[in-house]
């Protein structure tokens, strides 16, 4: 699958409390959660983000709480993919489990600027920066993760295995 969108750029340690503050966790409705996505560090994010846009961040993206509401909010905001140098481990699991594509790529995180037009191929991990005319390659996912992706998320993976 190939997605095209513009980059929203953030730094290190974007935590789940800023992705979706706990004060909004009294609901699990994706549309409602999306309205508050990133608001504590970027008030204008939800105003400016468009379908298929891409979040690009440095290291340890999604650190903190285990709230699955974080990848749910990002996905419901229309974001097609998150690229970071590294992801915090619970967020990493949750992203695959909820079907939010994520890519680990240090070069992309360093070279992409806010507003760059990107084209991302999730199968090959190829990230094209159309604004800067550069191409970066993300780390391929381990085979086990590929199986979960192929099953279209953990729900289906488990559905098949418990039968």
């Amino acid at each position: 699958m190939i997605k095209k969108g513009k980059a929203f750029k953030y730094g290190d340690n974007v935590d789940t409390d800023v992705i979706i503050p706990a004060r909004y966790l009294n609901t699990s409705d994706p549309v409602e959660l999306a309205q508050h996505c990133m608001e504590d560090i970027d008030k204008d994010f939800i105003k400016n983000v468009q379908e298929d846009d891409i979040i690009v961040a440095d290291k340890n993206f999604g650190c903190g709480s285990s709230r699955e509401h974080a990848p749910i909010a990002i996905k419901a905001a229309g974001v097609s993919c998150v690229i970071a140098k590294t992801f915090a481990r619970i967020f990493y699991r949750n992203a695959f489990n909820t079907g939010l594509p994520i890519l680990e790529c240090t070069e992309a995180a360093e070279k992409i600027s806010a507003g760059d037009e990107l084209e991302v191929n999730f199968e090959t991990g190829e990230i094209k920066n159309l604004t800067k005319n550069e191409t970066y390659y993300a780390e391929p996912f381990p085979d086990f993760i590929q199986k979960i992706i192929a099953a279209d998320g953990l729900v289906n993976y488990v559905k098949d295995s418990v039968k």
């Binding site: 340690n13 935590d15 409390d17 800023v18 503050p21 706990a22 004060r23 966790l25 009294n26 609901t27 699990s28 504590d40 560090i41 290291k59 340890n60 650190c63 903190g64 709480s65 285990s66 709230r67 699955e68 509401h69 990848p71 749910i72 590294t86 915090a88 481990r89 619970i90 699991r93 949750n94 489990n97 909820t98 381990p142 085979d143 086990f144 979960i148 998320g153 953990l154 729900v155 993976y157 488990v158 559905k159 295995s161 418990v162």
Partner: protein
Amino acid sequence: MGMTMTQKILAAHAGVKEVKAGQFIEANLDIVLGNDVTTPVAIKEMEKMGVEEVFDKEKVVIVPDHFTPNKDIKAAEQCKLVREFALSKDIKNYFEVGQMGIEHALLPEKGLVVAGDVIIGADSHTCTYGALGAFSTGVGSTDMAAGMASGKAWFKVPGAIKFELIGKPSKWVSGKDVILHIIGMISVDGALYQSMEFVGEGLKHLSMDDRFSMANMAIEAGGKNGIFLVDERTIAYMEEHSKREYKIYEPDEDAEYDEEYVIDLSKIRPTVAFPHLPDNTRTIDEVGDVKIDQVVIGSCTNGRLEDMRITAEILKDKKVAKNLRVIIFPGTQKIYLDCIKEGFAEIFVHAGAVFSTPTCGPCLGGHMGILAAGERAVATTNRNFIGRMGHPDSEVYLASPAVAAASALTGKISNPEDLE
């Protein structure tokens, strides 16, 4: 090649003789945990899986603790959903308001978790039970759903960092100071995807409550889990609280560690994490003049009886500083009752503090002590991210109960050593 404590537990639960760091395994689960925020999402995902019953009615634990007692109508609806699910699935370990506690204080106290277990919980601080020598880690709601449905979870076997603890901490230094010191040293992603294994002769100077608060914050260093070697103190705790059989795993002598640190507990000073990350630490000697508006003592990190005792010792026959809000919330109903029996509750109220029912409320900015713009709190909780306890322009300073209680008397971040 030898295995770490975590690797041995995972191998046993995956039914294999040996595992290596980086390997993907599927492990059998001893406990699957959820709360009122994460369980509603898990219920929906379990429905999508087409699974009617949980894998084991005794092994699923649900604790509504985040927004309880229900803070608003939406929270009440979520709690209702969770309650009805627990009743309809006949889940034995569902703890209603009035019998509950903050999940990570409650499960060890109720004897539901013991050494050698593999535990997942849809709450990041599930790593707390590593204090008992269990493998315990936080996951999201979909993993919780898969765990409830199948009794299994997938893991990438972690490598480990070994922390050898030596020496004896000074009077006002607790497990909280030790873990803040370590997070300050290795940073908030210093243990990313790794186990933090705590061993060494210094362990004998750390109470179970110290160890719970250290294991609790392994996630704040990015760790998959924190785990302590089992000793006589751990065994005594489990025998007092649990009827379950436990199994002790020790690391092989030739276990391979990614990194090794020796931590001299006698050299650790009371430590404070400044906004807005738990690794932004300073010793109490470097804090300077930081005036505060609120003190919060409690949470899954520091709401245990020993934390209450230290707080009571400092607040006894004193008054909290003028115009300062001091909120004390014990971890469980049992700790609450013990605070009454031991006279702590009276000390807190006489001092001018709020003594609350157990709840996660203020720690995550849910309710029961939210900060306004520009306000500062000293808290014995675990996170000081932007907006964690309220307004995005408020600030949280993480500290031990002793530092927090000393600060409650002065209205600024204070050293408990200066009280003597």
